[in-house]
């Protein structure tokens, strides 16, 4: 319990304590933030060790009433799905902070405050068990990200950050209406509680399948719009390439590594769990959008001349697999989706780091400016190659596991009822190989044609550290994915059981019977 609260609150503590630092003392600010984030990571490992992965329920649940009159509470807890994503967050953030040491050159204090706030809110999104609390965290993220892109971003940052902000807000405000509607419907029509309203997720999920299909559909669509924009799902993905390209390297790493996962996490946690009937109804539609995203993202990535933009579009394609896996609504598909979220965070994060490193050296990201980098920066090339191959989905590295499982899930799905999703999506893997390998070839191989590339320095110690850390997990997941899959296994199966029970009236998986733990509350 202590480890859990510490994981959530340490970044907030960092942000507040940073206010008292002298802004001239850049070194202290940098190392302090890094220190706190590493401590947070270690603490989150304790959280993981205390986590019982056999238990499909929420664990470490804390339930404090916050605003009685709308039954909103500070309700948090972890289950298998959020556990992995919390670890991803606490893992990616120190790397992003390390990457900031070189790439952030002005207004350090404000920057590290924003980054710490961002980590706090991201962790909050993954642990919130209350729709009101979830929404608060979801929206808080906008503020630091708005500043990070807007102040420390590239040339076109103003356009990118406003676009990012408005796109997200459009989605999330409709989600807010849906949250209010849902809370009010459950509070008055189903529960008839005193407030006539509730935003308690655990209560709502028990009863939400009683909501009539038409209402559920609207709610589902409002949530899906918000999450779809964040993922980003075709056709609301257009903010992403701009935001990614203009954000500073650590911003892109966080954006790709964690922020996009909030969307896919939301789809599993809220859309599937709260609106099962509507999910059956709309799964094919969303799966089609996901498949379009896979192909479209890959095709657009192919013609990019800017390395960072290429990686950004590859995210659209990769996240398509995740969404497809989710809406296959099978255990394999959802498991694959969760592991693919982690994979994408690691490998794309690493690719963005690599792009950032080369940008620091050359101040350009145009593919045509490079060529023959392998000769001057051999170590860098090796890392870049591994990250890229992981992204392509080479067996033995992590990407393969996730893509394989999602495609398998979509193939067997009793809800999608068609193999074509898998067949078409699989071509996306081929396209990924094409655009990534082609880019790699143009950047790394051949003679050094551009004289500016002749004296590039290979990796520094700091950069080694940044690249080795994710690589360990990339290989680990690739070789022995079970250490990670088992974390979310039972929670996923419980969700699939719930869905299949509603649709086919049968239970597929046997789960250990564990009583949901009583949460400490102040309601009595």
């Amino acid at each position: 319990m202590t480890a859990f609260l510490a994981t959530l609150l340490l970044p907030l503590f960092a942000a507040i304590s940073l206010l008292f630092f002298n802004k001239e003392n850049v070194k202290a600010i940098k190392y302090y933030t890094l220190g706190v984030s590493i401590v947070t990571f270690v603490v989150s490992l304790f959280l993981y060790f205390g986590f019982d992965h056999l238990n499909p329920n929420f664990q470490f649940v804390i339930d404090y009433t916050w605003i009685q009159s709308v039954d909103a509470g500070f309700r948090i807890g972890v289950d298998g799905m959020s556990m992995l994503l919390i670890l991803l967050t606490t893992f990616i953030t120190p790397i992003a902070i390390l990457a900031s040491f070189d790439s952030i050159k002005k207004r350090h204090k404000e920057y590290y405050i924003m980054l710490s706030l961002l980590q706090f809110a991201m962790t909050g999104v993954f642990v919130a068990l209350d729709l009101f609390l979830f929404y608060v965290f979801w929206e808080i993220i906008l503020i630091p990200m708005y500043f990070i892109i807007g102040i420390w971003g590239g040339q076109n940052r103003l356009y990118a950050t406003v676009k990012f902000f408005l796109f997200t807000v459009v989605g999330s405000l409709f989600m807010l209406v849906a949250i209010v509607w849902l809370g009010q419907y459950v509070g008055t029509e189903i529960l008839n509680n005193a407030a006539g309203f509730t935003s308690n997720f655990q209560i709502i999920r028990e009863v939400s399948s009683q909501i009539p299909l038409e209402t559920q559909s609207w709610l589902f669509l409002a949530f899906a719009l918000s999450f779809g924009i964040k993922v980003p799902l075709f056709p609301v993905h257009t903010w992403l390439p701009d935001a990614h390209t203009e954000a500073p390297t650590p911003g892109s790493v966080i954006l790709a590594g964690v922020l996009l996962k909030m969307g896919t996490y939301g789809l599993i946690r809220f859309n599937l769990d709260l609106f099962p009937q509507a999910s059956f109804e709309y799964a094919p539609t969303i799966a089609v959008l996901a498949v379009i995203g896979i192909i479209y993202g890959a095709l657009v990535a192919m013609v990019q001349t800017d390395v960072k933009k290429l990686v950004a579009y590859s995210s659209v394609s990769h996240l398509g697999f995740v969404v497809l896996g989710i809406f296959s609504m099978t255990a394999e598909g959802i498991q694959g989706a969760i592991i693919q979220m982690v994979n994408h965070g690691l490998s794309t994060g690493m690719l963005f780091l690599a792009v950032g490193m080369i940008y620091e050296r050359r101040h350009t990201r145009e593919i045509s400016e490079f060529g023959g980098i392998a000769r001057v920066m051999p170590a860098f090339t090796v890392f870049f190659a591994l990250a890229m191959l992981a992204s392509v989905g080479l067996p033995g590295l992590n990407g393969f596991v996730g893509e394989y499982l999602t495609l398998l899930g979509a193939f067997n799905s009793p809800f999608l009822k068609s193999q074509w999703y898998t067949i078409i999506s699989a071509t996306g893997v081929i396209f990924a190989a094409v655009y990534l390998l082609w880019m790699f070839q143009r950047v790394m191989f051949g003679e050094v044609t551009n004289p500016k590339n002749k004296d590039l320095q290979d990796l520094t110690k700091q950069e080694w550290a940044m690249l080795v850390a994710p690589l360990i997990f990339i290989v680990w997941i690739g070789v022995y994915p079970n250490s990670f899959l088992k974390i979310s296994d039972n929670s996923t199966k419980a969700l699939v059981n719930k869905l299949e029970l509603i649709k086919f009236n049968k239970v597929r998986y046997e789960l250990p019977q564990i009583e949901a733990e009583a949460a400490p509350t102040n309601n009595q």
């Binding site: 009101f132 929206e139 808080i140 406003v162 209010v180 009010q184 309203f197």
Partner: protein
């Protein structure tokens, strides 16, 4: 009787303070700070009295023997009235803190200014306490007549004169509507006491046509006072021309007073159970009418604010839009709706006064009011920029600031009473408003100005800004502080 005086302490307190302040004014002659200090003191006392009234247990607030009371049922005590007294007093205090320096710099530090603020507040307190339509009318008139004077207070400025004249002409016209509406209602029901009107409507003892006409005219008059579409045209001009501290005061306390009048009247003339089906139908139509007005107000306000280049004018339009959000609570006409208005009015007061006071601090000789002047503000005035950003995020409704929870609660109330479409319009207009709110933040933080800006010293306004900032954050994180109270006071 002792109990009555105890319960109506803020009501008498403000009246007594106002009279003493007048006396002090002509007794002290050239000494300017005596009046200022006394007015400030009086407002703090009023606040204290209202807080004391609220702390008296509820049972004594509710029941009251009208026949034996001094006020003969003309005024209400405690509850929401005391709460709004507190709100008006705080708005007055914040305005006063910023006004002295601002007036001295921009025009002249006339002590009449502070007296006028006090008059306006006593008018507002009358409205909040009113239990009779005449009391509502008197309160509104006391308030708006002072506003006419205040908005033209810088009489060497053309814009201020224009603002005052415009406000006066249109305002008196609207007061006519209000009075005519009151007369109609009197004609229809034979009483001006709000509770009796409700009773007569419930048992069916009224004239149908006059009542409908009366309610319609009241909606027009009150709509004008809160600057709701289509009677909002005066607001941007008046708010822009008036001295900025006055704008801050008018657009928050004035609006809150207009809303409490709206609440009091709507609660009475839209009873939960009406006498017959025709009346129920008519009343539903009125609610729908107010809903349409609310929807149009927020959309028009926000869309017009989009294109503004002048910060003061932009905030003026945004204040029109916020009146639209607040009206959602009236449309709901439920306890939730009223609590929502109470919360939103409080949150809105802190954030809007804060934003306008920053404009007043930045302003110089009626210049430095453009959006361009805020470019690179974070460099020259980091604290002010940070507070402005906070107020903007709060106005935009981004958690964890107070503005967010206000919207959440109002959405809830509107949806609860079956106005889903209104909530969706509110959301769409919120999205529109994001653009200009974050646009100002964008100017302050992301652009660097070429011209060297000077550092401004907020002085006493700094205290007001600190209070506003504190309020916006505190009520954002602990909305229960207000919302639990709000659920009890009606």
């Amino acid at each position: 009787m002792i109990q009555e005086i105890q319960l109506s302490a803020p009501f008498y307190m403000i009246a007594v303070v106002t009279l003493i302040a007048l006396t002090i004014d002509f007794m002290t002659g050239k000494n300017k700070s005596a009046v200022y200090n006394f007015v400030l003191f009086g407002l703090v006392m009023t606040f204290g009295a209202a807080a004391y009234t609220l702390s008296i247990p509820e049972e004594t607030i509710a029941a009251f023997d009208v026949a034996n009371s001094i006020s003969k049922g003309m005024i209400k005590f405690g509850g929401y009235a005391a709460y709004f007294d507190m709100l008006f007093a705080i708005a007055g205090i914040l305005t006063m803190l910023a006004a002295k320096q601002y007036n001295a710099r921009e025009y002249k530090d006339y002590k009449e200014f502070y007296l006028l603020i006090l008059f306006a507040i006593s008018g507002m307190v009358f409205i909040a306490h009113a239990a009779n339509l005449i009391m509502v009318f008197i309160g509104i008139e006391v308030m708006t007549i002072t506003f006419y004077v205040l908005s033209g207070f810088f009489r060497n400025r053309e814009k201020a004169m224009e603002s005052a004249l415009k406000y006066f002409l249109l305002g008196s016209f609207a007061s006519g509507f209000l009075l005519y509406g009151i007369a109609m209602i009197y004609g229809a029901t034979g009483t001006l006491y709000l509770d009796q009107i409700t009773q007569k409507m419930m048992i069916g003892d009224f004239h149908d046509l006059y009542l409908t006409l009366g309610i319609g005219l009241l909606v027009v008059g009150l709509g004008f006072k809160v600057a709701a579409f289509p009677f909002h045209q005066w607001a941007p001009d008046v708010y822009e021309g008036a001295p900025t501290v006055v704008t801050a005061f008018m657009s928050t306390a004035g609006k809150a007073a207009g809303l409490i009048a709206f609440i009091v009247i709507a609660q009475a003339i839209i009873p939960v159970t009406a006498a017959n089906e025709i009346l129920t139908n008519n009343l539903d139509k009125f609610r729908t009418l107010i809903a349409v007005i609310a929807a149009a107000t927020m959309l028009i306000g926000n869309i017009s604010a989009l294109t503004q280049k002048n910060v003061k004018r932009m905030l003026a339009y945004s204040s029109v839009a916020h009146a639209g959000y607040l009206l959602m609570g009236i449309v709901a006409n439920t306890p939730e709706g009223r609590s929502g208005i109470v919360f939103y009015a409080t949150a809105y007061m802190f954030m809007q006064i804060g934003a306008f006071l920053i404009v007043s601090v930045m302003e110089k000789d009626n210049k430095y009011l453009e959006l361009e002047d805020y470019v690179g503000l974070r460099k020259s005035n980091p604290m002010i920029a940070a507070m402005m950003a906070l107020f903007m995020f709060s106005l935009a409704g981004i958690p964890p600031m107070a503005g967010f929870f206000g919207k959440y609660y109002l959405f809830m109330a509107a949806m609860d009473s079956g106005y889903l479409w209104l909530t969706i319009v509110a959301v769409i207009s919120s999205i529109i408003s994001m653009y200009f709110y974050i646009g100002l933040v964008l100017n302050m933080y992301f652009k660097d100005s070429e011209a060297e800006q000077e550092r401004v010293c907020p002085g006493m306004a700094g205290i007001a800004l600190a209070i506003s900032t504190f309020g916006v954050i505190l009520f954002g994180i602990y909305p229960s502080l207000i919302i639990d109270l709000a659920n009890k006071i009606f």
